[in-house]
Amino acid sequence: MSDPEHALHLFHQMLRIRRLEEKSAELYSAMKIRGFLHLYIGEEAVAVGVAQALAPEDAVVATYREHAHALVRGLPAKSIMAEMFGKQDGCCRGRGGSMHFFDIETRLYGGNAIVGGGLPVAAGLGLADKLQNNTRLTCCCFGEGAIAEGEFHETMNLAVLWQLPVLFLCENNLYAMGTALERSESQTDLTQKAASYGMRAAAVDGMEVLAVEAAASEAAHFIREKRAPCFLECRTYRFRPHSMFDPELYRSKEEVETWKQRDPILTFKTQLFDKGMLDEARLDHLEQQVAAEIAEAVTFAEASPLEPVDDLTRFVYSERSPE
């Protein structure tokens, strides 16, 4: 944490995610956002730490819990908010919603809502890069629940066998909906699972943004150097229910409270205060900046028109001619 500016940048990013999501939850209750809404609150250090290791030309394949990755990679909050409102100015013109953000500029290939479904796609992007001698990489995010799926296995094997430049980022928040890791995996050390394919694998405390940044950077460096895949497990926790429908019968309030002690934003804030890199005034300023960004996003989303119903059948097949 030698560079105060960078440290504040990390803090700012985490704050943006947190506030965006808190606002989203509010707007869900207000029925402005509908469908499924999966919040990332508690896991912010993962998305922010990992993003530091990525270059602009790298690709990201994420899950339905992708708001944070989209935002931190550069998708404007306006675009995200309008999408969740189902509006025309949303990143997918309202067709995707919370679970399906896509973006060309930041190379965000979803927003995939089938657990494990993004892994083969990410490996394919890696194969395309390999065949085209590109030096970029693909970051593939998935929850620890995805590890039980057959596609995890198939993709790990192929990624190593064919030496594909993919960062397999496992966001281990200990639960897949209501299923605790130890009730779904015979081997709960996920790095060992990945290593069994001959994949380089590491785990990191996902509540510490600096630790995530360091581990992700090392992994990304390895991938770029060796043109080979890497598995990184970030051990984290979601503070909120799985989605807005979850009664959370499967874990105790105490467990959640204990983890909240390790809130990645609060602990990092304390560190920043301790190091004198942040004070109340700057914090206030940051909070205001973030609040303004999100307020603007909401205003934008409200004002954005709906996609005309006549356009319903667009984008089933391409309109542009094959290049």
Partner: protein
Amino acid sequence: MSAPTQQQSSYREAVRAGLHEALQQDERVFLMGEDVGAYGGCFACSKGLLEEFGPERVRDTPLSESTFTGMGIGAALGGMRPIVEIMTVNFSLLALDQIVNNAATYLHMSGGLFNVPLVIRMATGGGKQLAAQHSHSLEGWYAHIPGLKVLAPATLEDARGMLLTALEDPDPVLIFEAAVLYPMEGELSPVISSVSIDRANVIRTGRDLSIISYGASLHKGLGAAEQLSEEGINAEVIDLRSLRPLDDATIIGSVKKTRRAIIVDEGWRSGSLAAEISARIMEQAFYELDAPVERICSVEVPMPYAAHLEQAALPQVTSIVEAARRMVVRNG
């Protein structure tokens, strides 16, 4: 004086009552699937069952659709009566090899030696703004497969009873519960029992046209019939209940009487179950038809998230009413 004994229930509670009864009735029955236990079921259909029947009989599985479905097949072969829950039909694509290549073929391949008494339940359909990977209605696909039986409860009584019927069946039965129907409230008989699945139900009799449907769409068909009756058009409404086998007798009987039919089916139009029903009417009642059969299906797009687009993609009461008017006016 039997009305007061009816009890108020939701479709969800009816499903749960069926599961409860099944677990209580037969030691060999167990429920297996993602989050059926500690979470209480992703649609809360199995809430409380883990506590009552324990983790051996209410088994939470890892995210491994193909394998836990295939294990259902194996457990059925091994003497059990498994109920496999796949959260929604969308995820069942991951288990399709087991369902089509194993469950549906074992009896025939083995020359009659091994039947597979397996029940698979899943939720289906759109209308909840869950977008293109969570809103499919693929039950029509399953109805294409010989060796499977495919049920689609549209009423509380069927939501509860069909599970028990399915468990009595020696062969694999798939039950498609319409996700939008879970909160639907209604009355339920206090007597819990299996229901006959031999016949489709004529829910409402009429003489001017037949509205043939199932699952969530049935209620749209009923809504349309209501509206049409105000215009003096008297629609018969049929709840198919079983999608494989189809009850040709009831379908054709009705169409021969009304001489006009509209099929309402949330699947995409091309290759829908509605197409099959239209083809059967063509084959069995062509000379009695006063107008070509119409299909009201989902528009052929992956389901969009935005509410106005999603509703535009789904069958609606208004489109059924308009089709009915067209038919009756043209040939009235």
